[in-house]
């Protein structure tokens, strides 16, 4: 929960400039003093965490066309023939 307090743009700027490093911090972003009192930055952090969480759920959904396997087979057959000739 955040308690309402008006933060200066500079305070928010300073906090947001630290964000790339804070996301990986072991001490927990949510414990940061600025977040406890800034509604805007809390909302931003919540969104960024949500995006990261949703990205982890993206499944591989695309299949290559059958031509890809056909091409692989062609190359492997050619390599096998070349190998037989040289041996």
């Amino acid at each position: 929960m955040t308690s309402d307090r008006i933060h200066t743009p500079r305070e928010c700027d300073e906090f947001q400039q630290q964000l790339p490093g804070l996301f990986d911090s072991e001490h927990g972003l949510q414990q940061h003093a600025h977040l406890r009192t800034c509604k805007n930055c809390s909302s931003l952090v919540r969104d960024l965490e949500y995006i990261a969480a949703q990205a982890k759920l993206l499944l591989p959904i695309h299949d290559p066309s059958p031509a890809v396997w056909n091409n692989i087979q062609t190359v492997l057959s050619r390599q096998a023939k070349d190998g037989n000739k040289s041996s």
Partner: protein, 227 residues
């Protein structure tokens, strides 16, 4: 793969000689969540290592979707993604005998596919991490105050297709780091090694990618509301 400890000391075979792998620090449970074991995979690997073509085809069918999706997300181009999927599996065929099972097979294969894509982009002369994006963030990528805006959080408003579309719209440098970290689960130290940039740069690019996505997703959510 029943160990449940940090694999800090283990090495996995290098997929490409030019990109030697360092020890991985990702927990096995994390890798298994992203790369769960597939029934029949071990037997197919063993036979393919002995040159059995049918077993190699089995492995292709098990992993083609994941490898192709990875290539497509990184490149944003179907033709290139198919070419590099082909190249990744041809490389797999050449190197499968060196797979020792120290890591999950899919982890090993996907790292190989990532390296194939990165080598391709280097050959094309494209910067893997855009300096412009890194050093001169545009207004929308920089810190935002959001003062006076309505209280709209994204939570619950994103569906998979919308997120996929937004990721496609990211600039290549942002997309690369976002896909590697948030979608594929690589750590910043691994990404920094792969992209030959600093860890700080990787973190910065990821943050900017998420910030850009937030804007794109809000725009898409607004479009849905307006429609």
């Amino acid at each position: 793969m029943t160990k449940n400890t940090l694999r800090t000391a283990e090495k996995i075979p290098s997929p490409t000689p030019s990109q030697p792998l360092t020890a991985e620090a990702r927990p096995v449970h994390q890798q298994q969540r992203r790369n769960p074991p597939i029934a029949g995979e071990l037997a197919a690997i063993a036979l393919a290592q002995q040159g059995d073509g049918a077993s190699f085809e089995v492995l292709y069918n098990m992993h083609k979707r994941r490898v192709y999706s990875l290539c497509l997300r990184m490149l944003g181009n179907v033709a290139e993604a198919e070419d590099l999927t082909q190249e990744a599996f041809l490389q797999l065929h050449r190197k499968i005998a060196t797979f020792r099972g120290d890591s999950a097979f899919s982890t090993w294969l996907h790292r190989m596919a990532v390296n194939v894509v990165l080598m391709h982009l280097r050959k094309k002369g494209l910067p893997l991490v855009s300096l412009e994006e890194t050093l001169e963030p545009s207004q929308e990528d920089g810190p935002r105050k959001d003062f006076g805006t309505r209280d709209l959080t994204l939570s619950g408003s994103i569906d998979r297709i919308t997120l996929e579309q937004a990721v496609e719209e990211l600039p290549p440098g942002y997309r690369m780091v976002f896909v590697l970290h948030d979608v594929e689960g690589y750590e910043h130290n691994e990404i920094a090694e792969m992209l030959q940039c600093s860890i700080g740069n990787s973190k910065s690019q990821l943050h900017k990618a998420r910030m850009r996505l937030r804007i794109l997703l809000r725009q898409k959510a607004d479009g849905k509301v307006d429609a």
